[in-house]
């Protein structure tokens, strides 16, 4: 075969093979839209429908996102279910050890278990710490914060004279991790440790000195950890897509967060900028492996090409050389095409985080939070004063990044298990009222005062309570008593099947109870009949009576 034909054939083969690198991970735009509007309940439903891939390579990614959304919704118990998986996986060493050889010839996304870049791991540990702290479990919050403070590696140029470059371990500069550990230590009466950790936070970011001072002075009874925006998009760039670059979804700036209550406004600096972390080489880990694959692939293709196009003109030696050359090119092409960067990333991470210690001192009104110069980020928090005596409350608050009307609502519109009954008695939600509490005798008493007729001659309240619980069950609604939210799904207010109250002082609480919802429409005749029999003095009951009368 003439050498020229061989080279053309070989190049054709290489060109074809290098095109099979895969299109890469795509962030879910619908999910991002829901989170931007603080619709965390719906985001949870979208995530619940995501089926794991057969090889379970993305389980950690999915679990982290589910946990984050449950936390944002004000459901730390539900978040804990996923975060326990996350913690266990992050603490598992050598997760991809058996996949290194394989990943030379197969695209990383196809073979490696996603564990995230170091900054994504640190943020995941921080989210777990916040989940525990939201429940007042400071010991576990401290444990997760400690795990977020792993050593980083920094390019070491000290050996440049001898040409002996390398990496050296450096202590973390994750100020958010230090702050969380310091707060947990304070709550566990470990002052010395707290002072050390808060000093580390300030050493990482001097702007945090005022936050440290408030914490160490003990001048707080409430801590808000506020997230805003989205972490950057990860894309494959460069020759063969071997390198990754992060493109901001939310641009960085130094804007403070303003917190307003009782006629005063205070401003707090950022504790974390994920854009900055993503661009910092110390917070990344695997690019060199891909560069190795790309370099190896190039060398193999070139070597194969030389081998195949040289040699004699006839005989077995020539055929063998051609075959070896083609084989080498093939392997090189595969390695090269699969050196494309793994673009999986946690798109639901925030762009920035604020840590805000406040002294509410009995103030029970709404608290407004807004990032300076970002009008869409406004959020009004309700029920932050609710706590056991002497308890420090930590709440995680995820701000919207798109305008939502209900964010400014300064009144709770529905009775719930946190803030309790409304000033005026109302009917349970299922009976067309505004009471979304777990049904108890108190709820039935309020319903009676709101016009519900109870008939039983023995114990009317208890009997009616039993009937109401049965009606919820018949309508396919699961009731979750306060403090038992591990298994909640979508809220009844938003078309879901669970009745629960998220933690007060969270975005999820505001969206559910300070936003106007369409009244409940009965699905079963059992409920229609109940309404027709027990509600005589309301127009709604008249309509229902007409509906159920044949």
């Amino acid at each position: 075969m003439p050498g020229f034909v061989r080279i053309v054939a070989a190049l054709g083969l290489v060109a074809q093979l290098t095109g099979c690198g895969g299109s890469g991970y795509q962030a879910d735009a619908r999910l991002l839209g829901l989170v931007a509007r603080a619709e965390f309940g719906r985001a949870r439903e979208v995530l619940a429908l995501q089926t794991p891939d057969a090889d379970r390579h993305n389980d950690l990614l999915y679990a982290t996102k589910r946990g984050m959304m449950a936390l944002a919704e004000g459901l730390p118990d539900a978040a804990d279910r996923d975060f326990e998986i996350v913690f266990e996986t992050l603490r598992t060493q050598g997760l991809n050890a058996d996949r290194t050889t394989e990943s030379i010839f197969v695209n990383e996304e196809g073979v490696r278990i996603w564990k995230g870049e170091p900054f994504e791991q640190a943020m995941a540990y921080a989210a777990i710490a916040l989940t525990d702290a939201s429940r007042g479990d400071w010991g576990n919050a401290r444990a997760s914060a400690v795990n977020a403070l792993f050593h980083l590696r920094e390019y070491d140029e000290t050996g440049s004279d001898t040409g002996d470059f390398g990496y050296r371990p450096v202590v973390s500069d994750f100020a958010l991790g230090y702050l969380l550990k310091g707060i947990a230590a304070l709550e566990m009466f470990r002052r010395e440790e707290a002072e050390e950790e808060l000093a580390n936070a300030v050493a990482s970011d001097a702007a945090l000195a005022p936050v440290r001072d408030v914490l160490l002075a003990g001048n707080y009874d409430t801590i808000l950890v506020i997230d805003y925006g989205f972490a950057p998009r990860r894309e494959a760039v460069g020759a063969g897509g071997v390198a990754v670059r992060y493109f901001p979804r939310t641009r960085s700036d130094n804007a403070a967060v303003a917190v307003s209550f009782a006629g005063t406004t205070r401003r707090f600096p950022q504790a974390c900028d994920v854009n900055t972390m993503a661009h910092d080489a110390r917070w990344q880990s695997r690019e060199s492996i891909r560069r190795f694959k790309q370099g190896l692939g190039e060398a193999m293709v070139l070597g194969g090409l030389v081998l195949a196009s040289t040699g004699g003109t006839d005989g077995d030696d020539d055929i063998a050389r051609l075959a070896a050359g083609a084989g080498l090119m093939l392997l090189g092409a595969i390695a090269q095409s699969n050196s494309r960067a793994d673009t999986r990333h946690n798109e639901l991470l925030p762009q920035r985080v604020y840590v805000v210690p406040l002294m509410l001192d009995g103030y029970s009104g709404p608290v407004r939070v807004q990032v300076d110069n970002r009008a869409d980020s406004l959020m009004t928090l309700h029920g932050l004063h609710l706590r056991d005596p002497g308890e420090t409350v930590l709440r995680y608050v995820r701000l919207p990044s798109a305008r939502v009307e209900w964010a400014a609502a300064d009144r709770v519109l529905y009775a719930n298990d946190a803030t309790g009954a409304l000033p005026e008695p109302t009917l349970p939600w299922i009976l067309g009222g505004r009471d979304a509490r777990f049904p108890t005798q108190e709820v039935v008493h309020d319903a009676e005062r709101a016009g519900l007729e109870v008939f039983s001659t023995t114990d009317p309240i208890t009997d009616t309570l039993g009937e109401i619980r049965e009606l919820y069950r018949a309508e396919g609604i699961r009731l979750f008593p306060p403090g038992d939210t591990r298994l909640v799904t979508g809220h009844l207010f938003e078309g879901g099947h669970s009745l629960f109250t998220p933690l007060p002082g969270t975005t999820g609480f505001t969206r559910l109870f300070a936003r106007q919802h369409t009244p409940y429409q009965p699905k079963t005749n059992q409920l229609r009949n109940f309404l027709a029999q027990h509600m005589h003095n309301t127009p709604a009951a008249e309509t229902l009576r007409e509906e159920v009368t044949p």
Binding site: R91, G94, A97, N140, N147, R153, M188
Partner: protein, 215 residues
């Protein structure tokens, strides 16, 4: 073409080579099958330094023995004034997440064994419900009377898990590939009035795992 020129002797050698090749293949296949079978039988290597349930069980057994032989218990008998022991859940100062239920169970397991219960009764030690459990039961509808002063607890059983982490690179790679966790589990009984530490039991657990810490 070259094969046509081979002599009979060469063909004989060729067949012998083939036979030995087949034998080698059978040997290799058997070795692989055996190693796979052995591999299936051995438990998978530990890949995390988190505390395992077996660690906690062993720790409880060790400390239970320490309590049974303690000077505090030896100094008491059926005629001693009643000691009312209230239990606190484990304080987690480790790098591991320990579920709250597990934090309670670890302390309660120390007292739960039948012989320990009997021992405590013989020493006139009464174990009281912790306040958190009382609140939980009250939320479920049970009602408890206010504690009279003569029922106030006299002693408190506390426990703590602390840990220290060491990580490094064995292979000389850029990232840490070995991590060792030293856990110290300690239990203590304090007399509430005097704040005196009347008993302390400790045990240690170490776990080492190899493999990239970050990946």
């Amino acid at each position: 073409m070259r094969r046509l020129w081979q002599s009979d002797r060469d063909c004989g050698r060729e067949r012998a080579k083939e036979r030995s090749g087949v034998a080698l293949c059978v040997f290799v296949a058997t070795a692989i099958a055996l190693s796979a079978a052995i591999g299936c039988a051995t438990p998978p290597p530990q890949r995390t330094t988190r505390l395992a349930d077996a660690d906690l069980t062993q720790a409880v057994l060790t400390v239970r023995e320490q309590l049974a032989e303690s000077a505090f218990l030896r100094s008491r008998d059926e005629t001693s004034p009643e000691a009312r022991l209230v239990v606190r859940r484990v304080e987690n100062l480790s790098t591991d997440r320990i579920a709250i239920a597990e934090q309670w169970s670890l302390v309660l397991r120390l007292l739960a064994a039948p012989n320990t219960q009997e021992l405590l009764q013989n020493k006139r030690i009464v174990v009281q419900l912790p306040p958190e459990k009382v609140r939980l039961l009250e939320r479920g509808g049970l009602r408890f009377d206010e504690f009279a002063q003569e029922s106030w607890p006299t002693h408190m059983l506390k426990a703590q898990i602390a840990s220290a982490t060491r990580a490094g690179s064995l292979a000389g790679s850029r990232d840490a590939d070995v991590r060792k966790e030293y856990y110290l589990l300690s239990f203590a009984i304090e007399e509430i009035q005097s704040r005196e530490l009347v008993w302390q039991g400790t045990t240690e657990v170490a776990r080492e795992v190899r493999g990239s810490v970050i990946d």
